[in-house]
Subunit: 153 residues, 3 copies
């Protein structure tokens, strides 16, 4: 008697990142690919998740001039120069030891979202050559984590 | 002969909410945590999903002044005072019995998205102290549902 | 001896789409429903994913005048008439053979996101009558794919 039951597998890793600028799109595609490969999972999906409130996850084209466009659009729709109540709150609580006011960073992150999921096909992410996965840092420079979880067979 | 096969488990619950204002960020973190705990699932992910077209899901910091910033940003990029064709449509169909025009609410929701997924670690969501999960009500006050689904082992 | 072990199932299909306009919200709800039905999966979730950098996925109300509102809001927060550095990049590389400059399309897609997940209940998506799933084309007309993946029991 032989049983061939493919069990569901779950594999999770953390990517550690050091951002350098206030707004920065950090391409983590290679690192996510490596995690997918190490998972041994062939069919399923990968969740890319930012456990932060001022950095999100986006998937788009890694073209340096386009990344500048992203930055400009985000600064324009959520201007740095506006008054954010959150900054007054943090000031009162002495939570901005470095003089950083980041109300705008949270607002930008709200618009980007904190997770994306990508399906797998034969152990590879279904992303085209033009697609890259980014941690969208909205309040750098900082140390950041991205959680990558592969789920499937 | 012993078989030790860990089966995939799926657990789903609905959270019922009553919103009070037009725009309101309702923190449902505790309720999602309770559902995750009741699921008995240790490894996997939780999907938080809004089955609505004028309320989305966001994950960010629950600081009351920041929530006001979120509201102001959303009202500024999708102003209440603009003319939305949808409102004329609903007016014609007599679908706004209470005089509410909600074209702006749908537009705001489009920008926020209707689902987020969070990975689990040992039966707990991988969220930091600063992160809260919100139903982002864009057209309250109303009764709303949030569907929470845990999937894993 | 009988073993009754419900195995995790994964089912994936590609939807092929031909968009007609620059910005277009293409309702793919029926096609996603058909894939969910064909999957035979009763409990679990469906991932709807755009493998593109200038077209995203949204879930909202399919009311033609509201779709015009969505378009206007997107054109207003990411204006076509602004200068996008990406367009200069593509011009230099001769990648815009048809004179199309699409920096704005990528920026709009960044705000929409490229995936949404919907939970299932008894083989049906948990969407209400008012909800439709759209490929949000931001740079048509083009041929596009949407990847739909059902995962569950």
């Amino acid at each position: 008697m032989r049983l061939k039951i493919k069990k569901m597998k779950i594999y999770r890793k953390k990517i550690q990142i050091k951002s350098e600028s206030q707004i920065e799109f950090i391409d983590i595609t290679d690192k996510v690919e490596e995690i997918v490969e190490n998972s041994g999972i062939r069919e399923g999906q990968v969740l890319i998740y930012s456990p932060h409130t001022s950095a999100g996850i986006i998937i788009n084209h890694n073209e340096p001039m386009l990344l500048q466009d992203f930055m400009r659009v985000l600064y324009r729709i959520v201007p740095l120069g506006d008054r954010y109540s959150h900054d007054l709150f943090e000031l009162k609580k002495n939570q901005i030891s470095d003089g950083r006011s980041n109300g705008h960073s949270h607002c930008k992150t709200m618009l980007l979202g904190t997770s994306e999921s990508v399906p797998l096909d034969g152990g590879k992410m279904l992303i085209t050559e033009r697609q890259s996965i980014f941690l969208a840092e909205m309040d750098g420079s900082r140390s950041r984590d991205v959680v990558v979880q592969v789920i499937g067979l």
